[in-house]
């Protein structure tokens, strides 16, 4: 359970987040929609406790995150970045076992049990066979799966994902989203920022739309994602059609600006 109250954040004079208040229930998959630069990443940094100079309060399971240590935060919340290519190439299992860092004492290395956790996490993402492959050599979709496995090895119940499907091809986008949906069904709370309203609509339990630093709408996807909302958020004409019981967003070309 996450509760955000009157959250504001600014870089110098530039206010990025203005008085956000919302709550996220446990076990839900929430997609945050909004145009580029609207402050999704800033919001995530605040939730992760990386931006500490925000105004307002963020509570996780009743505890203010400002009172939690970095280690305690890692126990409750895991972050899945957009695919990250590191300078030094690690094997998949070396990468995933890093998720256990908060349980490994400061002057120690991961135990056999921690490696078991890493293998279990890979198993959950159907990536067990990739354990000895090298991360930088994997495709974007596989890398994303490994990063999610790393978050699972962390054994935190809340997963924060920064546009998990942004660099993936069509098939991989769907496969990764299916895995994320599965995790939510297994009881994880997933908050993902999404660049793709269609996906947000199809997979999430709730959609939260951000515009100009504020929350403009939040609720069930079918109610929130409307023609008007999309036209405001993305400054482009769309039509929403119903095909085989699914809502389909159709961008209209020709007249781009509203």
């Amino acid at each position: 359970m996450i509760e955000v109250n009157q959250l504001s954040f600014s870089y110098g004079n530039h206010a990025v987040l203005k008085n956000l208040s919302f709550s996220v229930e446990a076990g839900k998959l929430i997609s945050v929609l909004g145009p580029n630069g609207v402050g999704k990443s800033t919001l995530f940094r605040c939730l992760l406790g990386l931006n500490k100079t925000y105004k307002g309060t963020i509570q996780i399971n009743g505890a203010d995150i400002k009172t939690l240590t970095t280690r305690k935060m890692a126990e409750t919340m895991a972050y899945i970045p957009q695919s990250h290519v590191s300078t030094f190439n690690y094997s998949v299992v070396e990468m995933v076992v890093m998720g256990t860092a908060h349980r490994v004492s400061k002057f120690s290395t991961p135990s056999v049990q921690d490696y078991e956790k890493a293998y279990d996490a890979l198993e959950q993402m159907s990536m067990r066979d990739y354990a000895q492959r090298y991360f930088n050599m994997l495709s974007g979709g596989e890398q994303q799966m490994v990063l999610i496995a790393r978050a699972l090895a962390q054994q935190a119940k809340i997963l924060l994902m920064d546009e998990p499907t942004s660099n993936l091809d069509f098939g991989n986008q769907l496969r990764v989203m299916e895995k994320i949906k599965m995790l939510a069904e297994r009881g994880y709370t997933v908050i993902q920022s999404s660049h793709n309203p269609q996906q947000a609509m199809m997979f999430s339990d709730e959609v939260m739309a951000m515009y100009a630093g504020e929350i403009t709408a939040k609720g069930a996807p079918n109610e929130v994602v409307t023609k008007r909302l999309l036209e405001t958020l993305y400054q482009t004409h769309v039509e929403i059609l119903e095909v085989k019981g699914e809502q389909l967003i159709l961008p209209l070309w020709g007249r781009r600006r509203v």
């Binding site: 940094r45 992760l48 406790g49 990386l50 970095t70 280690r71 935060m73 890692a74 126990e75 919340m77 895991a78 972050y79 970045p81 990250h84 590191s86 300078t87 030094f88 190439n89 690690y90 094997s91 299992v93 070396e94 890093m98 998720g99 860092a101 908060h102 490994v104 400061k106 002057f107 120690s108 290395t109 991961p110 056999v112 490696y115 293998y119 354990a131 000895q132 090298y134 930088n136 050599m137 790393r150 962390q154 924060l160």
Partner: protein, 352 residues
């Protein structure tokens, strides 16, 4: 069928996880002991292997004396300090290099990345100019090395923007400032006595290794090496980027500070007794990455052992190749640079 698969699975899991790196480390340790033995035996005064072991063990258990006093003196007073010192310096430079590479996520990082060596050079040159004793030259080198990196760290930490890039830029600037200072000292130094000894110091050597030098550097080396070995696995997390690192429960800035501090102390201690020895801190980490992978859990101990092997080997060449001793800094460059080019051409999956 299922149980067979399970067993195979477990085997694979185990061998991948534990055994292979440990076996490699074990082999490296054996190589180190062979090189150690050779270092005791070779030299202007040859000592047989059997005599060597007798001399060494005679200090612990009683033995019939079959060797001369001169041999014993060579082993204990000349070769032993020199061997211990070059092992320590080799290990420290390699470990410092690999740590800096992790902190800056930069494969080009080496112990002189933040100006530790140029600061030491300036300190040593200054001490020679002032006509101080050799112990004071080491002390000055150590002190100025720490001061230089401290300066770089303060500039990097408190300037706006990306802390890693600021540190690198500050390192380049402050280094060149101290290098200019060293050049100025060379200019004003007495060309008959001081200038040659400054130049010689800058080329690096273990030829004057004394026992008191070992005790002088052992303390800072241990002080730096122990925390580095302790936090070594966590260095991996820094390579994942600061955000990911913190979200996994490790404070990135704190890690960086600890690792930079510890690496700087061991680098400063090394150069203060050996002079400028380049390339070890760059080539050895890359060689080890090729051999054992990038996981610092194994990479760090591997660097420690391999650094010692390399330094001992090069020091043997420096002592034995020509009639006069070749300064070791020249040799490490002659061996290190071509070897590094070879490593680049043999590019495998592990580097970059």
């Amino acid at each position: 069928m299922l149980s067979y698969e399970f067993v195979e699975n477990m085997k694979q899991k185990k061998s991948m996880k534990m055994n292979r790196p440990l076996i490699k480390l074990f082999v490296l340790t054996i190589i180190l002991s062979i090189v150690l033995t050779c270092s005791f035996c070779f030299g202007r005064y040859h000592i047989g292997v059997l005599d060597l072991f007798k001399i060494l063990f005679s200090r612990v258990i009683h033995m019939d004396k079959t060797w001369t006093d001169q041999m014993e003196a060579v082993v204990f007073n000349i070769r032993l300090p020199r061997i211990i010192l070059s092992c320590m310096v080799g290990s420290c430079l390699a470990v410092a290099g690999v740590s800096y590479q992790g902190v800056f996520q930069n494969p080009m990082a080496s112990p002189d990345f933040l100006g530790a060596t140029s600061g030491a050079a300036f300190g040593a040159a200054l001490a020679i100019l002032l006509g101080l004793s050799s112990a004071m030259i080491s002390a000055y080198a150590f002190l100025f090395s720490i001061i230089t990196v401290g300066l770089v760290y303060l500039i990097g930490r408190y300037s706006p923007g990306n802390p890693v890039i600021n540190l690198i830029l500050a390192g380049i600037m402050v280094s060149s400032l101290f290098t200019a200072g060293t050049s100025f000292i060379k200019l004003v130094a007495d060309p008959m006595n001081e200038l040659p000894s400054i130049t010689y110091w800058l080329m690096g050597s273990f030829s004057g290794a004394k026992r008191h030098e070992i005790t002088f550097v052992a303390i800072p080396m241990l002080l730096g090496m122990i925390p580095l070995m302790g936090v070594r696995w966590r260095l991996n997390l820094l390579a994942m980027g600061d955000e990911a690192c913190e979200s996994m429960g490790v404070n990135a800035n704190q890690m960086r500070l600890v690792v930079i501090l510890a690496s700087t102390i061991i680098t400063a201690a090394s150069v203060s007794v050996s002079g400028m020895i380049g390339w070890v801190g760059l080539v050895i980490p890359h060689l080890c990455r090729k051999v054992i992978g990038n996981d610092y859990k194994y990479l760090m101990p591997t660097c420690m052992v391999t650094g010692a092997i390399f330094m001992l080997g090069v020091d043997n060449i420096s002592r034995n190749l020509l009639e006069t001793e070749i300064p070791i800094g020249i040799l490490t460059a002659f061996i290190g640079a071509p070897f590094f080019i070879y490593l680049i051409f043999r590019k495998e999956s592990r580097l970059s």
